[in-house]
Structures are given as C-alpha cells and as structure tokens.
Amino acid sequence: MPTQSTTPTDEPALIRRILAGETQLFYDLIRPYEKMVYVTIYAMVRNEQEAEDGAQETLINAFRHLASFRGESKFSTWLVTIAMNEGRRRLRKFKTAAEDSLEDSADDHDGDFTPAFLTDWREIPSEALEKKEIREKLRATVQTLPPIYREVLILRDLEELNQEETAAALGIPITTVKVRLHRARMMLQKLLVPYLKESRPARKGFFGRMSP
C-alpha cells in the first residue's frame, strides 16, 4: 500500500546520497512506506502501541543498516522483511513457545476446508467499506489467523507485494506463498462471511438453506 510519491527508480540514488552523508533524505526514502511498516507489525502483534514502537524500531534499524541493503531486492521488500522480523520478535515476548509451535504447525494440515456459502454478499463491497464495524471485524479476523497464514496474507493482500517479493521477504518458496495465501483467504472468507451475512437482511433463496 505504499503511495508512489517517489518512484522506485529514485530510490537507489536516494540511498547512495544518504549513505554519502545526506542523512536528511532518509525521511524522503521512507515516507511512502511508513504506513506499510506500521500495518505489517500491527497485523502481527494486534496492539497499537506495540506496533508503533515496532515500526519505529524497524525504521531505526533500516537507517542503521542501510549500507547492508544491496539493491538485489526492492527497498520495500527489504524494509518489510525487517518489519516482519520485528513483529515476530515482539510476538515472542507475549507468547509461550507452546502457543507458537501449535500455531506454526498449522501448515502441516491439509487445506481441506469448506468455504462459507452465501449468495447474499456478492454486491456488498462498496457498502461494506463504508461500515466501520465491518472493517473492525475484518481487522480482528485477520488477527485470528495462524501466523504463517497471516504473514502471507498481510504481504500479498494488504501490502500488495507480488509473489516473488513475498517469498523473498519471508524466505519461503513461491509455491508455499501460493498455498498459504489460498488457505488464508479461504479461512478469512469462512470466518467473515457469516458475520457479514448477519449485518444485512438475508435474501431468501435456495442457497440460503446451504448456509451454516
């Protein structure tokens, strides 16, 4: 979701100038990504203060280690990798190892699932977007996903990184990105759709009987 106020082609030059001593330019470099860094960490840690502290730490680390950015990946990918690591570090503070391993093992399960059936919701997006409570519900629901799925969903559907960038940021193969993204979206669909159905008058029809 970075706003493209600086074009990616400006970035290598900007980075060279920062490293050469024009440190003030760091603010320009990160401006398009300030929100991305916060949202990435927020979606992981589920706490505003932690996310804000984490975002600050991420960008401080990025400044301190800018010389180690080789330009092999995009700057945004490099930055989001630091943000992800910061988010994970903060999560570990709150969670027991048992909880982590329980959630991480979810990838081992076969993605056998039944999506939520609903015909009532297809025309909703613009309406739904206007409802604050639906955005809140989505935010809360994203945070109930197991971390391995949540991370991929955040990078692909929230930050809108492509498959290659997501794979690079998470250090996983592209095929794994695809599988996890699919499962994450399906989990979200299943968790969210019944709630959204309740939020508007049901339309009676054949498929109404198929709803859970």
Binding site: I60, F117, A128
Partner: protein, 88 residues
Amino acid sequence: MSIACKHVWEHISEYLDHQLDPLLLHEIELHLENCEACSAILDSTRNVIILTADDRTFELPVGYSERLHARLRLIIQGPEPTPSNTKS
C-alpha cells in the same frame, strides 16, 4: 458441470490472481456460469480481498508520523544538546 465444486474452491485464489492455465480457467469459468454457490464463494472471497486492501481497514494512529520522525531525528541528528546531557 464437468468439474466438482470442491475442485473449483481449491483454485479460487489462483483464479482471482489470474494464475490459472487456460484449460483449467475455461473449465472453472464454465462451472461458475452454472453454479451459483461457487460464484458466491468466489465473489465473497474477492470482496474479502478488496476489504483487506482498503486503506481504511488498517489505519495509522493519530500523530504516528510525527512521533516516528521525532524518534528518528534523535538517531539521525543525535539528541539536542542540553546542560544535563553529557553523552556524545
């Protein structure tokens, strides 16, 4: 319908990301034309993705950028000299 609903669900994500090979895409589109349940699942999944990407779903706290820049300034420029500050 030549393919089963369950088979369609397995490919919804790739369908939405335009990653299906032409043959499977054709089969799925044929199925979707005739299966209201699967088209509803497809639509609702697409809507979930739209909602997730919406800027208003995940918002920044008020004053975030100012606080971030203030913190960065301490690192980039160093702390403002004060009488009690003897470091650096």
